[in-house]
C-alpha cells in the first residue's frame, strides 16, 4: 500500500497510517479511562510510585533512624503511626522508601525481558526456519524450569545483591515474552498486506518497522505489563529469602522477612510490607487487564 499505486492513492497511503495510529491510541486511552476498576488501580499505583519517588518529602521520619524506646511500637503510636520495627525505625517511612527498590526490582527485569525477549521473539517469528528453531528451542530450555525456582537458583549462584537479583529475574522474563512475541509475529507475517509489501519490494527493515512492529507492539506490551504483577512477587520473594537488597537498605520483601521474627509481639505490623506487595501486584494485574480490554476490537 506504500507508494505503489501512484496518484492520489500515494498521498492517502502516506497520511493514513499516522493518523489512524494516533486515533487508535486515543480510542484505547478513552476506553481505558471509562473503566472504573482499572482506573482506580492505575490511580493507586500512581500514588504509590509518586510516594516512592518523592519519599524524601513525604516520609514522616528518617527510615534509618533507630530508636530503642520505639522498638516494635504498636500501630498508632505517635511518631510511629504504622508501628516501629525491631530497631525502632518508623515502619511507615520504611514502607515509603522501600517502594523505591521493590518497584524498581519489579519493573526493570520486565523491561529487560521486553527488549531482549521482544527482539528475539520478533526475530524468530519474522525469520522463521532455522533461526526460529534455534531461538525458540533455547527458550524452551529455560521454560523447563519453574520460574521462581530458576530466579532463586541463578540469584543464589551469583550471590546475594540487588544487581544479581535483577539479572536473575530478567533471565526469567525473557522466555515468556519471546514466546509471545514469536507467536504474534508469525501470525502477522502471514497477513496478506505484509506479503503484498514484500512482493512490491519493500525492504525487510521497512516491513518490520511499518507493518510488523506496529502490529505486534501492542499485544507484546500488554503481555509484558501483565508480567509486572508476577515480577513484583518474585522480586520481593528474592529479597525475602535474603537474595536481593542488603541491609540497611530495604524493600518490602526484606522488611517482611525481618518483621516476621516479631509476629508473636506485633503480628499486624509484620503483615504490612506483604500487604503493599499484594496491593501493587493486584493493581498491576487490573491495569494490564484494563488495557487489554480497551485494545480489544469489539465483536
Amino acid at each position: 500500500m506504500h507508494g505503489t499505486l501512484g496518484g492520489p492513492a500515494t498521498i492517502d497511503a502516506a497520511v493514513a497510517p499516522a493518523v489512524r495510529h494516533n486515533r487508535y491510541a486515543t480510542v484505547v486511552l478513552l476506553r481505558f479511562l471509562r473503566q472504573p476498576v482499572p482506573m482506580t488501580a492505575a490511580v493507586i499505583l500512581l500514588v504509590v510510585m509518586l510516594a516512592a519517588i518523592f519519599a524524601g518529602f513525604i516520609a514522616p521520619a528518617d527510615p534509618f533512624q533507630t530508636r530503642v524506646a520505639r522498638r516494635l511500637a504498636e500501630i498508632g503510636t505517635p511518631g510511629r503511626w504504622l508501628g516501629g520495627d525491631e530497631l525502632g525505625r518508623d515502619v511507615l517511612s520504611r514502607l515509603i522508601y522501600g517502594g523505591r527498590i521493590s518497584l524498581a526490582m519489579a519493573i526493570l527485569p520486565v523491561a529487560v525481558g521486553l527488549f531482549v525477549g521482544g527482539f528475539l521473539g520478533v526475530l524468530a517469528g519474522y525469520a522463521g526456519g532455522r533461526t526460529n528453531m534455534a531461538i525458540m528451542r533455547a527458550m524452551d530450555v529455560f521454560y523447563a524450569f519453574p520460574s521462581i525456582l530458576l530466579a532463586v537458583a541463578i540469584a543464589g549462584a551469583l550471590g546475594p545483591g540487588l544487581v544479581n537479583a535483577i539479572l536473575a529475574l530478567s533471565l526469567v522474563f525473557i522466555p515468556p515474552i519471546a514466546r509471545m512475541a514469536e507467536s504474534v509475529t508469525t501470525q502477522v507475517r502471514s497477513y496478506e498486506y505484509v506479503i503484498a509489501a514484500r512482493l512490491t519490494g519493500a525492504s525487510t527493515l521497512r516491513i518490520l518497522r511499518e507493518h510488523v512492529l506496529s502490529n505486534v507492539a501492542g499485544p507484546i506490551l500488554v503481555f509484558a505489563s501483565s508480567q509486572v504483577s508476577v515480577s513484583i512477587i518474585a522480586a520481593s520473594g528474592l529479597s525475602f529469602l535474603g537474595l536481593g537488597v542488603s541491609p540497611p537498605n530495604s524493600d518490602w520483601g526484606l522488611m517482611l522477612s525481618a518483621l516476621r521474627q516479631s509476629i508473636y509481639i506485633n503480628p499486624w505490623v509484620a503483615a504490612l510490607p506483604g500487604a503493599m506487595i499484594f496491593l501493587c501486584s493486584v493493581c498491576f494485574n487490573l491495569v494490564s487487564d484494563g488495557v487489554r480490554q480497551a485494545m480489544e476490537v469489539r465483536r
Binding site: 530450555v141 523447563a144 519453574p146 521462581i148 525456582l149 543464589g156 509476629i263 506483604g274 500487604a275 498491576f284
Partner: protein, 317 residues
C-alpha cells in the same frame, strides 16, 4: 497417537540436555573458585591445585560437563560440602517431604479450582461469577510467602490451633498420615495451593465460557438433550486446557515452593535449595536443581501426552 508419543519423547531429549547444561553452568557463573568453599581460608596455592585436580576442576569445561553428566546419569550427584553426605541422598529425603506437600496442595487446588471455575463459567456475569473473579484476581496476585505468614498469625499466634513450623512433632521419626503430622500439613497446604487454585479456576472458567458460546451447544439444546448431558460436553471440551494448566501448576508446586517451605521450615527441596545457597554448597545446589528441573521436564511430557489423549485435535496438528 503412537507417532505423536514418539515425536514428543524425542523432543524431550534435547530439552533435557539443555537443562543439564544450564544446571551445570550454575556453578560456573558463581563468583570465585568453586573449590575455595571446600578448603579453609589459610589453604596454600599448592593445596588449591591439589584439590582442583582431585575434583577434576583443572580439566577443560566440556570435559568436566561430560564427566558430571555421566555421573549424574547413574545417580551420582557428588558429595554435599555442608554435610559430607551424598547429594543424591539429601535430595531424595527432601523430595519425599516436597511430594507430600505438593500432592495435598495439588489435590486441593485442582478440586477447588475446577469446581469454582466451572460454576463461575456456567453462571457467567452472575453474582457467583463476580465473586469468583474477585477471589481469583486476588489469588493470582497473592505473594504466597505473605499468605503463609498471615496464616501463621491467625491460626498459630492468635488462635493457637495449628503449629507454625515443621513436618510433625519433635519426636517424629518419619512422616505418617496421622493427626500429629496432618495438622502440620494444613497451613503449608493452604499457602501453596492458593495461587494454583486461582490460576486453574480462571482457566476453567474461560474454557467453559468459550465452549458455551459455540454453536454445537445450541444444537445440543435444540435437540432436547438434558442439561446434565450438555454439562458433560462442556466439561469434556474445557478439560484439555485445564489439565495442561493443572500439570504446569503441579510442577510449580514441586519446584517453586522455596518460599513457603522457608516460612514453615518444611524440610523439602526448596528448603534444601535455600540452605545450599546460604552455605555456598554448590554441589548440593546443582544436584537439587537438576532433580527438580528433570522432574519438571518429565511432568511437561506427561501433561502433553495426557492432553493429546483427551483432545484428538492436538495429535493431528
Amino acid at each position: 497417537m503412537l507417532l505423536y508419543v514418539v515425536r514428543r519423547l524425542l523432543y524431550a531429549v534435547p530439552i533435557a540436555l539443555g537443562v543439564t547444561l544450564v544446571v551445570f553452568s550454575l556453578v560456573h557463573i558463581a563468583p570465585g573458585d568453586p573449590i575455595s568453599a571446600l578448603l579453609p581460608n589459610e589453604a596454600t596455592e599448592e593445596m588449591l591445585q591439589q584439590a582442583r585436580k582431585e575434583f577434576g576442576l583443572d580439566r577443560p569445561l566440556p570435559v568436566q560437563y561430560a564427566i558430571w553428566l555421566g555421573h549424574a546419569a547413574v545417580g551420582n550427584l557428588g558429595v554435599s560440602i555442608g554435610s559430607g553426605r551424598p547429594v543424591a541422598d539429601e535430595v531424595a529425603a527432601a523430595v519425599v517431604n516436597t511430594v507430600i506437600l505438593a500432592v495435598s496442595a495439588g489435590l486441593l487446588s485442582c478440586l477447588l479450582g475446577f469446581v469454582l471455575g466451572m460454576v463461575a463459567g456456567l453462571r457467567r456475569d452472575g453474582l457467583i461469577d463476580h465473586l469468583v473473579n474477585l477471589f481469583t484476581i486476588s489469588g493470582v496476585s497473592l505473594p504466597h510467602y505473605w499468605l503463609a505468614i498471615l496464616l501463621v498469625i491467625v491460626f498459630s499466634v492468635n488462635l493457637s490451633w495449628l503449629p507454625p513450623l515443621g513436618v510433625g512433632p519433635d519426636t517424629s521419626d518419619g512422616w505418617r498420615p496421622d493427626w500429629a503430622h496432618l495438622r502440620h500439613l494444613i497451613l503449608p497446604t493452604l499457602a501453596t495451593a492458593a495461587i494454583p487454585m486461582a490460576v486453574i479456576a480462571r482457566t476453567m472458567r474461560a474454557g467453559v465460557v468459550d465452549v458455551l458460546d459455540q454453536d454445537f451447544i445450541g444444537t445440543l439444546r435444540a435437540k432436547g438433550l438434558p442439561p446434565r448431558r450438555i454439562l458433560w460436553h462442556v466439561v469434556r471440551n474445557a478439560l484439555p486446557t485445564t489439565l495442561a494448566v493443572m500439570g504446569l501448576q503441579l510442577g510449580n508446586m514441586l519446584g517453586g515452593s522455596v518460599l513457603v517451605e522457608t516460612v514453615f521450615a518444611w524440610p523439602g527441596t526448596g528448603f534444601l535449595l535455600a540452605s545450599a545457597i546460604f552455605q555456598r554448597d554448590l554441589p548440593l545446589l546443582q544436584g537439587t536443581m537438576l532433580v527438580l528441573a528433570m522432574f519438571f521436564v518429565f511432568l511437561n511430557l506427561i501433561v502433553d501426552l495426557v492432553q493429546s489423549a483427551t483432545d484428538p485435535r492436538i495429535r493431528r496438528s
